[in-house]
């Protein structure tokens, strides 16, 4: 995380002096960080952020929901101490173990060693690493959907919502207040001590930018989380960054729905879509691209499209790929590698979910031909499936090689429709690929 220029450290806007009651018996005990300018090496945070944590008081004790970044622990403990004693803490809920929420945990556990720690099963791995030898000293109980924590007259229910940016993410529901604690989901990197969505400044841009940078690569996990959470119909959503959402929370759920739909979800019906994106310096790879298109277009039920990467801007291509069922990349080998425009595109693909998409690579080369293999490795790194080994042609393709390219296109399209012929191969043949 990167801070603003030293010496110009801004003070948080409207910082509350103590804890803030957001619902009966529920206190905000978080911290404001007006200094942060870059979060997770993923996004800019022009006005800083907040680390929200909460204390829920029940007849049988207090639950703490998440903590804050270690640098802001003092602020968190001061607010906590103003509304609860450490020996009243029965439960510590960790909805997510990233350091911005677990930073104050080791110290909190030293002060409240009898509390039961509840995180998702996937959180255990990180918790073990965070606590080291102390892990065994504490009462740590993993929870998932269907589990709850009893505070006497009120109950916290857990909802397992994995992979909404880390494997460990979960949400916690306080039924009597219809209050949903979502940690990073529905967050904004927006620093404003007035806390509530109807009181703070205009944070809508931050809400959406946050979605784009942190949640968009996990689109289908976000959709699964929405499926689980929407029926709760919360009266308030309390995330761990930015404003507490109490003005028609359903609006925010709907906005996440909208954002998590592929931008181009209109028009193609049940057809599969295959995008061929290529770069060509002398026209050889371009001719192959046309042949791949011609072959793939023969397959009914597949919409194939062809784009010269150098003719377009990156971000519409990224939107296109987010929605495509498969992509085929064409690149010549230039200086022992794929063309620059291809790498620029591939670097942007971490912004979207690529897991499970079909990928394939082809290209012309002069003597060494490294580009195809390099791009294949990258597509595998993006968790795509590559059913066909890449197609390479030395210099300009012959008629026979163009027919190979058409066939390559036909086979790729057939993989999308499920009509690809099953193949059986031995180890020697596999090694030769």
């Amino acid at each position: 995380m990167t801070a603003a220029v030293p010496g110009s450290a801004p003070t948080p806007a409207f910082a509350p002096a103590g804890p803030v009651e957001i619902a009966p018996g529920v206190q905000w005990i978080g911290a404001l960080d007006p200094v942060l300018r870059s979060f997770d090496a993923l996004m800019k945070t022009a006005g800083g952020t907040s680390y929200n944590a909460y204390a829920v008081r029940g007849a049988a004790g207090v639950a703490i929901i998440d903590t804050v970044d270690a640098d802001y622990a003092d602020e968190f403990f001061a607010r906590l101490e103003a509304c609860a004693r450490y020996d009243e803490i029965k439960v510590i809920v960790l909805n997510h173990l990233e350091p911005d929420h677990s930073g104050a945990l080791p110290e909190l556990l030293r002060r409240a060693p009898g509390a039961r720690v509840q995180c998702s099963p996937r959180g255990l791995q990180t918790l073990r690493a965070l606590l080291g030898a102390d892990f065994a000293k504490y009462d740590i109980a993993p929870v998932t959907t269907g589990h709850s924590a009893d505070l006497g007259d009120r109950v916290l229910d857990f909802y397992n919502t994995p992979n909404v940016h880390w494997p460990d993410t979960q949400c916690t529901w306080l039924g009597d207040a219809r209050l949903l604690f979502t940690c990073d989901l529905f967050g904004s990197h927006y620093c404003d001590g007035r806390l509530f969505d109807d009181l703070v400044g205009d944070f809508r841009f931050s809400f959406e930018h946050y979605y784009d940078r942190l949640m968009r690569p996990f689109r289908s996990s976000v959709v699964a989380a929405l499926d689980l959470l929407e029926p709760l119909d919360p009266a308030m959503i309390a995330p761990s960054h930015g404003p507490v959402l109490r003005t028609e929370p359903a609006r925010y759920l709907r906005q996440y729905r909208r954002l998590s739909e592929p931008r181009h979800s209109f028009g193609t019906g049940t057809d599969k879509t295959l995008a061929i994106l290529y770069v060509s310096a002398h026209g050889a790879t371009a001719r192959m691209a046309q042949a791949v298109l011609d072959g793939a277009a023969e397959e009914p039920g597949v919409r194939v499209s062809l784009f010269d990467l150098e003719g377009g801007e990156l971000s519409p291509f990224v939107d296109l790929i987010e929605h495509a069922d498969g992509i085929v990349i064409g690149t010549p080998t230039i200086n022992n590698d794929a063309a620059r425009a291809v790498w620029e595109l591939l670097a942007k693909l971490v912004d979207i979910e690529t897991r499970g998409k079909l990928g394939a690579v082809f290209g012309s080369f002069g003597w060494s031909g490294e580009a195809v293999r390099n791009v294949e490795a990258r597509l595998q790194g993006l968790q795509m499936r590559l059913p066909e080994p890449g197609l390479k042609v030395k210099l300009h393709p012959s008629e026979a090689q163009l027919e190979d390219a058409r066939d390559f296109g036909r086979r790729l399209a057939a993989h999308l429709t499920g009509r690809a012929a099953p193949r059986e191969i031995g180890l020697t043949e596999l090694a030769a690929r």
Binding site: P121, N160, R355, Q383, P387, R423, G426, R433
Partner: protein, 95 residues
């Protein structure tokens, strides 16, 4: 030698493998979408769904069992970096 086959349904390929082969040794070469992180049974990235032939895979070790459990894996899910095809036919796809 006894024969075993390992099918990756996401890329429609069956590989003839010697018994004892780990899924990880084949899946990347055939281009399957099964992906790896730690490659040593710790992270759960390689979670793989067994469509057929679960009984032909090696018994999960204590380490694999723990990671499967922490990943809330279904009964036919395995870690591709850990389990071995012991014989017969096994069909898998990314988890």
């Amino acid at each position: 030698m006894e024969k075993a086959t390992l099918t990756f349904t996401d890329v429609s390929i069956t590989v003839n493998v010697p018994p004892g082969t780990r899924i990880i040794e084949m899946s990347e070469k055939v281009g399957s979408g099964i992906t790896y992180g730690c490659r040593e049974g710790d992270c759960g990235t390689c979670l793989t769904h067994v469509v057929e032939g679960a009984e032909n895979l090696s018994e999960p070790t204590a380490l694999e069992l723990r990671v499967l459990q922490e990943n809330l894996a279904g009964k036919d899910d395995r870690l591709a970096c850990q389990c071995r095809v012991m014989g017969g036919a096994v069909k898998v796809h990314p988890g």
